[in-house]
Amino acid sequence: MVNRNVVTLLMLVFGLLCAVMLVHAQNAPEASERGKEVYEQSCAHCHGTEGRGDGSAAENLLPKPRDFTRGLYKIRSTESGQLPTDQDLFDIITIGMPGSSMPGWETSLSADERWEVVAYIKTFYNGFKESEAPPRQISLEGKIAYSEQSVETGKELYVELGCVECHGNVGRGDGTSAPTLTDEWGFQTWPANLAQSWNFRGGADTEAIFKRFIGGIAGSPMPAFEGDSFLHFGLSVEESKRLTELENKDEMTEVEETESEKFYEKMDVAVDLALNRAEGIELTAAEQQTYDDAMKVVYEKSWHLANYVKSLAPEERPEPAIGKNVLRSQYVQGELPGMEDTAWEVLQSRHFPLVGQVVIEPRQFNPTIDSVNIKSFYNDTEVAFLFMWDDRTHTTGDEIDESTGKPLEDALAIQFPVKVPQGPTAPKPYFLWGGRLPVYLWHWKASAPEQVVEITAKGINNAEVQAAQGALQAQGAYTDGQYKLWVKRALKTDDKKDLQLEPGVFVPIAFSAWDGANGDVDTKRVVSSWYTFVLEPVPSSRRFVYPPLIAVLSLGLLFGLRAVVQRRNS
């Protein structure tokens, strides 16, 4: 008896707590003058004073600032078609959206101010007032832990569900549909490069990936994969597997035909229930059970998919090659490895982030190339580099840019000073293709993948193709959203306009890259400031001579000391 009382009491307390939390979650913010003030001070220049995403800075931004008047929010913890929770909005304001121009406001706005802004931006869309029920949240129950097997299952789903259409074979956002995507407002939009988790707008943990997948990304072409549109909705995992087998056959026998029909009938029933639910028709207990069972399979498979997506990218962005983390070309004896040689695998690549060129018109405010990763080997006479960078499209200059009349084409340029500055205070050439001091450039274009042109430049608009070419061997390839460029050159050349390389000398190095499909041409491109590169000297052989010598000497010293003390004592 007592036990039952206790249980009832506990349930009551628990229920009350839940109710309080719900009320708090839903009613926390109250729109106020303060919210408007903060909004106009901090948000309006991008999102517009009326929340239409049309502030004065919006013109040069892509992704565009969110238009709050439609109630379409990309990053939600709620089901497809539902509004975000207040917490969702608060989190986005707090953390920001990586890979876009939306910063996190945690340090510059107090939590109260952020809540006020949440309340204020909700006033831009009436749907927030009209909706009676709180938005349905995506359940994170039954999360499947990361494992090799789960990743394998997810990988199959990735293909079956058609993720490849936009995100590409290995997730670099290079699917065949990628170049034609537009968002709800008609602006061009690119599918996420799943290999660059640091740019995931809503975060890169498995739960976040799962939520984006189930709930969709409202306003973007990313569909929601919850419920009835899911592959084989209504079938168990085994049944679905069997049906996939059948469906992948070119022709089914009569028996198989009947078998698959049965599956389709089962699916139709489940889909019908899902639609009833969506239309607000109440389900009977048995129907609810059928629906729940179907959803369980959907969620289970989605966790596998989330695990697979998680597996495509490193946990964090690689350390940029700044400071001690410079690009060190490693010495090898004999022939340098070619582009496809497995010898490259022993090296860890160095990561060079690139940013839009906004110094000289035409400028690139919305870059699509994030970074270039580099490995290098050298021997006694030559140096070889392997450059790798992600680009969602393979553009070889078939289209002509209207304003410049030049072909839109993917390209990479590697920049060195002609003369290495002697000492840290010595001047370097200007980081954008030189100025008073010239730079020496290797310019590679996707339309001529076996060729690198040597250029001397004294400014971004003052470049001259060198008269003497042919010092470089090159090989380029594009696969699955990634360019690979292999370049080899002799350490020393006869050309006075070339950079001469010597082991142990730190050489400034910088990059420019063009994504033709993003309108990159001429000065419109992504660039880097000066980084550093060195032919790492072979470790000195002195390291085998001096240390033993010193050890022996110290031993001798100890014996000598002992002899002296002994003599004095006697």
Partner: protein, 258 residues
């Protein structure tokens, strides 16, 4: 209990001081202390110890006794041999690690705020001397607050159309383009920036950008555009008003001191 010998005490003091400096003070209490600073402190401590033991002859003898004993006493043969192995081994490893160390690139001795030229110009037009030029719209702050507000608002527009990509939404130099620029874009929320310079200085930095810096400011590294190519004179003055209005910091003035 056997009394600790003076030598052991000195050894404990030295090792103890090093541990405290390296791990306790630098690490738990504050950020790690640089190696050179630790070396300096350790040098001082060694000198203090040496001074202490060499004040009196007896003390010094007391100090040397364990060393003597270790070297000659036949009862301490094991200790002697262990030391005879450990010391050369330690030196072997230490010299090897020094020789095998990889060279690191030279740091940049960049002066973040180099001296401006004497004359302030916009394109080729001379505005005046750096010392005397004032923001022509600054006086509205007192004379005509409405007009002042309009200039600040225009500055805000200019800032968010042009500057926030690198200097950030909150003017703290932490924008989406910023983290991979070397040098980092200026942080106007830093109390050491706006109050330390006249508005003419900011005009110069904005108008001439990275390439306009003197050599001490490593003009070849800075990604700051030459804004006089894109902005009018008034727009530059307005954006300077916005910078100080948004951050609440007043630029330095000399006018009133005269």
């Amino acid at each position: 209990m056997k009394r600790l010998s003076l030598f052991t005490i000195c050894l404990i003091i030295l090792i103890g001081s090093w541990v405290v400096l390296r791990f306790a003070i630098g690490g738990i209490v504050s950020v790690p202390i640089p190696g050179s600073v630790i070396a300096m402190y350790m040098g001082l401590i060694i000198i203090a110890v040496l001074v202490h033991i060499s004040v009196e002859d007896s003390l010094f003898r007391e100090f040397l006794r364990p060393i003597h004993e270790t070297l000659v006493d036949n009862n301490l043969r094991v200790r002697r041999r262990v030391i005879a192995v450990l010391i050369p081994l330690f030196l072997l490893g230490y010299t090897h690690s020094i020789i095998a160390q990889r060279a690191n690139p030279p740091g940049s001795p960049r002066d973040a705020h180099p001296s401006p030229p004497l004359e302030l110009t916009y394109k080729d037009e001379v505005i005046g001397t750096m010392q005397d030029v004032v923001n022509p719209f600054r006086h509205y702050e007192k004379d005509d607050p409405e007009a002042f507000k309009a200039h600040v608002e225009n500055g805000r527009r200019v800032y968010y159309d042009n500057c926030f990509y690198c200097h950030g939404d909150h003017l703290d130099g932490q924008a989406h383009f910023a983290p991979y620029l070397q040098p980092l874009p200026a942080n106007f929320q830093d109390p050491g920036i706006i109050p330390n310079f006249q508005e003419s200085f900011f005009f110069w930095r904005i108008a001439k950008g990275g390439p306009g810096l003197p050599a001490a400011g490593t003009p070849w590294d800075s990604a700051m555009p030459i804004w006089e190519n894109y902005l009018t004179k008034d727009e530059i003055w307005d954006v300077i008003l916005f910078l100080s209005d948004y951050t609440g910091y007043q630029p330095r003035t000399f006018g009133e001191a005269h």
